[in-house]
């Protein structure tokens, strides 16, 4: 999923965009209003109102990753205005204008691409807007545009000065310049400035930020769905007579596919109470009925059987085994990484509102085009009769983007079944969220490494089993080759370490339990295994874990150099060369994901009762140019916390197919007292920006495991707290 935006792509896109755009301008009140073409839209990404108010149209939703700050930063930098002078608007659904440039013609956010794919596009938009305004002023004043300058909302030069507002209407009729002049990076004021404030601070601090859960339309119905307690179960019978007594209850209807019952009420509490009151009998004939012990043994059996698919041939299955069997020393381990739920802070929800000729979706919409298409299909409406109003999303970690547009489809069905006359807000409770699937699949890995008499690696046999994400979906062609779902093996088959004789085999695990990408996707399990085994191999060969890794990053590729670079930096900043204080130990891990390189050192302490406390995490990251260094740090801090929290305590388990975890008390999230200081060091770089939402996560778990293994057990089964590690 990579593509490079050329200036030509941008310019063609932008000119086409201006010609075909639904032009939207600012009314004097500063609210959005439709306006005739030529009023304020300088490019699809920048609008300037008659009052001079600049708005940046942000094509990516905001789940906390900072797009509503990062994208406006790019425009403000090139346009020559301060960041707090620009207003921020979420883009409407229009894949022609607002596609993710790494996703083909699809508007959506994911894979840590938001800033990377927008970097040149938004800079160009800002630079183009600047030139158009300068040209308009030059025309009005009859001077050469090169004598004019734009700053602080004013155009000045040739002995004159005027606010940009005066030139907006002329500028917006101009052609988008073919080659807008971009600033040279050494003149950046905003890009790379560590002191920028987030644009979403104010609304989120005062409680005025509107999330999808906060949508309250006049006359709206609230819908909740009673889903089968086991994946794949079907409604056998429904009795809603008891629900009639619940205040606000409206109706309960079996979904057309038979996989649940939608319950309507006048408010959220009424809907939740009514759902408790209805009685449903389920048919579990086709359901996943196994308990965790059976599922786990099946998964472990799968990883121990000859692999179904070969992800990396190396010397071949048999030769690899032979090399390892005959090696002077072997390192061997079997890993189990559990099913995990995303559990974003805001449970899933969206609202569908009827409009004169179609509907409007209100959602913290992550896959805009996917949701748009899903609504069109379910409601049998033309695409142009559907609008999407994107609002803030209370986290996602991958959950709000599914290939099936799951909760959007549920909302559309609920809306259709309700008669389409009232807005319908679909709400998931936290219980729905934890038992609702779309999990990170459980994965098992089995690894055998052979070392020669001098402790050098000679072969690495790596087997993986788990439920693939992309197989059987629209994305299969792009991500599945020769049976190998790339997302199951990324981080292993493409490891940057120079590993001689590496074989990687994959076996798919089948279950009706639904799976999805989870923050950092395959890297969420592969980095844990790779970096644990690297440490075990370093120990077996008597090498320091940092030095051992550097040994295997010494072939000279740029990739290896950048990973080695962050590893050295993390080691240096954490004081790796000095022994830790008594009672403390450190572990290290390094991993590349989403084109970003991250290395971490976790330092832990143990108290008298052998309880582990995470004292400090030191991270070095190379994500190319850091547009907003403080947001980069925040994303890394968040990725580390999310990763470590799950590795410590979380797993989804099953009893006769039913999910045991019901809410936070038995899916205990990381809390403030669980983790000490996190220190993030960003490598100074002029490379193009790469992902930052996910790459902080992969090294965090194995770095903790490696710290624990110094004076304690090697944890090969997660979560740690359920497998012998006590946390303070």
């Amino acid at each position: 999923m990579t593509a490079t935006l050329t200036r030509r792509d941008f310019l063609q896109g932008a000119s086409a965009a201006v010609a075909t755009a639904l032009v939207v301008g600012y009314s004097p009140r500063g609210t959005l209003a439709a306006a005739p073409n030529g009023d304020g839209s300088l490019t699809p990404f920048v609008k300037i109102g008659a009052d001079g108010q600049i708005a940046v149209i942000v094509k990516h939703f905001e789940m906390g990753q900072g797009t509503t700050t990062g994208l406006p930063t790019l425009v403000a930098e090139e346009l020559g205005v301060e960041l707090d002078e620009v207003a921020v608007e979420f883009a409407p659904s229009d894949a022609k204008l607002y596609a993710n440039l790494f996703f083909g013609g699809f508007q959506g956010t994911g894979g840590s691409t938001a800033l990377a794919n927008s970097f040149m596009q938004y800079r160009n938009a800002g630079a183009a807007a600047r030139e158009m305004l300068l040209n308009a002023a030059a025309q009005a004043w009859n001077v050469d545009p090169s004598t004019l300058d734009l700053s602080n909302g004013m155009i000045s030069g040739a002995g004159r000065q005027a606010p940009i507002a005066e030139f907006v209407s002329v500028a917006s009729t101009m052609e988008v310049p073919a080659e807008p002049q971009l600033k040279s990076p050494d003149t950046f004021r905003l890009i790379g400035n560590p002191n920028t404030s987030r644009r979403d601070n104010e609304p989120k601090i005062t409680g005025t930020a509107q999330f999808a859960m906060d949508v309250q339309l006049p006359d709206q119905l609230v819908a909740v769905i009673k889903r089968s307690p086991r994946f794949g179960g079907m409604v056998a019978s429904l009795d809603s007579s008891e629900a009639s007594a619940v205040p606000g209850f409206v109706d309960a209807v079996t979904l057309p596919a038979g996989n649940g019952v939608v319950v309507y009420a006048e408010d959220t509490w009424g809907a939740l109470q009514a759902r408790e009151a209805i009685a449903v009998e389920w048919d579990f004939a086709l359901a996943e009925n196994r308990s965790s012990d059976e599922l786990d043994s099946a998964l472990l059996a799968a990883v121990n059987a000859p692999p179904d698919f070969v992800a990396k041939e190396g010397p071949g299955l048999e030769e690899t085994s032979r090399l390892i069997d005959n090696a002077a020393q072997t390192v061997e381990a079997e890993f189990y990484l559990p099913w995990l739920c995303h559990a974003p802070m805001e449970p899933l929800t969206c609202t569908i509102e009827p409009t004169a000729d179609g509907v409007r979706l209100h959602d913290g919409c992550q896959f805009t085009t996917g949701s748009h298409q899903a609504l069109a299909a379910v409601l049998e409406l033309p695409m142009e009769n559907i609008e999407i109003n994107t609002v803030y999303a209370g986290g996602s970690f991958g959950r709000r983007a599914t290939m099936s547009a799951d909760y959007t489809v549920e909302a559309a069905i609920a809306f259709a079944l309700s008669g389409r006359s009232r807005p319908v807000k679909l709400v998931w409770s936290r219980e729905d969220d934890l038992s609702g699937g779309a999990y990170r699949s459980a994965f098992a890995h089995k690894v055998r490494v052979g070392l020669d008499a001098d402790g050098r690696m000679i072969a690495w046999d790596h087997r993986i089993a788990g439920k693939p994400i992309f197989k059987g979906t629209l994305f299969e062609q792009a991500f599945v080759h020769n049976g190998v779902d790339h997302s199951s093996v990324e981080g292993v088959a493409d490891t940057l370490y120079g590993i001689p004789g590496q074989f990687v085999g994959l076996t798919d695990f089948n279950s009706a339990i639904t799976v999805n990408w989870w923050r950092s996707v395959g890297h969420s399990h592969t980095a844990y295994v790779m970096e644990s085994v690297m440490d075990m191999a370093a120990k077996a060969s008597g090498r320091d874990p940092v030095a051992w890794r550097l040994d295997h990053l010494s072939e000279g590729s740029k990739d290896q150099q950048r990973l080695a670079g962050v590893l050295r930096l993390a080691a240096e900043k954490s004081g790796w060369d000095r022994p830790p204080a008594p009672g403390r130990s450190r572990g290290v891990a390094a991993h590349k994901s989403f084109s970003t390189y991250a290395a971490q050192v976790v330092e832990i302490s143990r108290d008298a009762s052998d309880s582990v406390k995470i004292e400090k995490v030191t991270c070095a990251v190379d994500c190319g140019m850091a547009v907003n260094p403080d947001i980069v740090k925040a994303q890394i801090e968040g990725g580390i916390g999310y990763g470590i929290g799950h590795v410590m305590r979380n797993e989804i388990t099953f009893e006769n197919g039913s999910v045991i975890q019901s809410n936070f008390p038995n899916y205990q999230p990381l809390r403030i007292s669980d983790i000490g200081a996190i220190e993030v060091h960003i490598v100074d770089s002029r490379e193009s920006p790469t992902g930052i939402g996910e790459p902080g996560l992969p090294p965090s778990g194995p770095a903790l495991a490696n710290a624990i293994a110094v004076d304690g057990p090697r944890v090969t089964r997660l979560p740690m707290a359920a497998n012998g590690v006590r946390f303070a």
Binding site: I205, Q216, P344, M345, A634, Q635
Partner: protein, 156 residues
């Protein structure tokens, strides 16, 4: 049933089903959506409001018999500690998705109202009932300490 409440300094009468927790009265009936639903079982703190200045979990609080109490939500937070917390939150760029932050701020403001210079372990103990899935904890720790500093500066 008819509820009588004092919310953010306003006397309010509102009709709500018997048994509906304060959280849903605030959100669905009064449209005060700054107070969030995260778990409904007093386990995440997203729904934290002040009742007579003390942080409580509104998702498990009955709105009955609160007629004489002062309920404050994030929309009405204007106490000195509250404003100091909001200022510190902005200075430290604490928020990410922001969904937990109303609750975090209400908890932190409650802490500082009771203890104007908490140490790290007091901050951690008090704030550990507030979950942040974005894991903004390190910034919350430093922003609470910064808010205490702001209060101190103001009172000098």
């Amino acid at each position: 049933m008819l509820l009588k409440l004092n919310v953010n300094g306003q006397q309010i009468e509102v009709e709500a089903a018997e048994g509906m927790p304060l959280l849903w009265v605030l959100r669905d009936k009064l449209k005060l959506t700054g107070t969030k639903y995260g778990c409904g079982v007093a386990s995440c703190g997203a729904c934290t409001v002040h009742v007579d200045g003390v942080p409580v979990r509104s998702c498990v609080m009955s709105p009955q018999n609160l007629a004489d109490a002062e309920i404050t939500t994030i929309e009405g937070l204007s106490s000195r500690p509250g404003r100091a917390v909001q200022q510190a939150w902005a200075e430290h760029n604490v928020v990410q998705c922001g969904y937990c932050q109303s609750g975090q701020i209400m908890s932190a403001a409650g802490l500082l109202a009771a203890n104007s210079s908490p140490d790290v372990s007091e901050i951690e103990t008090h704030m550990s009932g507030n979950v942040c899935r974005c894991a903004t904890y390190q910034r919350i720790r430093s922003a609470v300490a910064r808010a205490a500093e702001i209060l101190k500066e103001e009172s000098q």
